[in-house]
C-alpha cells in the first residue's frame, strides 16, 4: 500500500479532474437554475461518501465491541473523522446552493436538519474520544457509535414527519433525473470515494503510528530500573 500510494493518488487526482470536467462542461445546464445547480455534483456525492464512512464507523465499532481488536478501533476513529469532514462539505455546499436557488441560506427542512443532527452526533463522538481518559476510550466510543447508529433512523423519522406537516419549502427544480446527470453523479461519486478512501487510509496510518509512539513511551518507562527504597 505504501508504495502504491503515489500511483493511487495520481489516479485519484485524474479521476477528480475528469469528474470536474464532466460536471462543469459536459453535463447539460439546468433550464431553471442555470449553472449554479452544478454544485450538486459535489454536494450529493459528498453526502453519499459521508454515509459510507459513517457506516464503516458503525461496523468497526461493533467489531471492536465483540473482538476488542485495536485495529477495528483505529478504523472507527479514522472513518468517523473522514465522515465528519465530508459531512462538513455537505453542510457548507448546501447553503451555497440554497442561497441563489431558494433565496435563503438555510431552512429547517428535514434533510438539512437531519444532516446537521448527524454532524452533531459524530462531533460529540469525537469530543468523547478526546475527553475520555486512560484506556477506556475505545470501549466508550464504540458504545456511543452504536447509539448513534440507532439514533439516526429515529432522527430521520421524527424530523421528516415534523416538517412535512408544514408546506415544504421550494424543492429543487428540474423534475425527474436526466440520465446524463446521473452519469456525472456516478463519476463524481467514484472520484470522491477514491479520494475519501485515500484520506481515510492516511488517517488510519496516523492512528496506528500514534499507538506505536504510545507503546514506545510505555516500553521506555518499563526499561527504567525497578528500585526499592
Amino acid at each position: 500500500m505504501k508504495k502504491a500510494f503515489p500511483i493511487l493518488a495520481i489516479l485519484t487526482a485524474a479521476l477528480l479532474g475528469y469528474a470536474f470536467y464532466e460536471a462543469m462542461f459536459v453535463a447539460p445546464t439546468d433550464q431553471m437554475q442555470g449553472d449554479v445547480y452544478r454544485i450538486i455534483y459535489y454536494h450529493v456525492p459528498s453526502g453519499w461518501t459521508m454515509f459510507v464512512f459513517f457506516f464503516t464507523n458503525f461496523i468497526a465499532s461493533i467489531v471492536y465491541l465483540i473482538r476488542r481488536n485495536p485495529k477495528a478501533d483505529a478504523v472507527a476513529v479514522a472513518a468517523a473523522e473522514v465522515g465528519l469532514v465530508f459531512c462538513t462539505v455537505v453542510l457548507v455546499t448546501g447553503p451555497l446552493w440554497a442561497r441563489p436557488v431558494w433565496g435563503i441560506w438555510w431552512t429547517w427542512d428535514w434533510r438539512l436538519t437531519s444532516t446537521l443532527v448527524l454532524w452533531l452526533i459524530y462531533a460529540s463522538y469525537l469530543i468523547l474520544r478526546r475527553f475520555s481518559t486512560g484506556g477506556q476510550t475505545p470501549v466508550l466510543a464504540a458504545a456511543l457509535a452504536v447509539f448513534g447508529a440507532l439514533d439516526m433512523p429515529l432522527v430521520y423519522f421524527s424530523i421528516w414527519f415534523f416538517r412535512t406537516q408544514h408546506p415544504q419549502p421550494v424543492v429543487g427544480g428540474g423534475g425527474s433525473i436526466d440520465p446524463s446527470m446521473l452519469r456525472v453523479w456516478m463519476i463524481s461519486w467514484a472520484a470522491f470515494l477514491c479520494f475519501g478512501w485515500l484520506v481515510f487510509w492516511l488517517r488510519y496510518r496516523l492512528e496506528i503510528f500514534k499507538r506505536e509512539v504510545e507503546e514506545t513511551h510505555s516500553l521506555e518507562a518499563m526499561l527504567e530500573e525497578p528500585r526499592f527504597r
Partner: protein, 40 residues
C-alpha cells in the same frame, strides 16, 4: 455562478485543511518518536 465557484472552492478548502491538520499531527508524532528513540 459565483456561488458555484464558492462551493467548489469551499469543498477543497475543507479537504485541504483537514489534510494539513493530518500532516501537522503526523509531524508532531514523528518528532516525538525521534526524541524517544535515541535513548536506549
Amino acid at each position: 455562478m459565483n456561488y458555484l465557484y464558492a462551493a467548489y472552492a469551499a469543498t477543497w478548502i475543507i479537504h485541504g485543511s483537514y489534510l494539513c491538520s493530518l500532516a501537522i499531527r503526523y509531524r508532531r508524532l514523528k518528532r516525538e518518536m525521534k526524541d524517544l528513540k535515541p535513548r536506549p
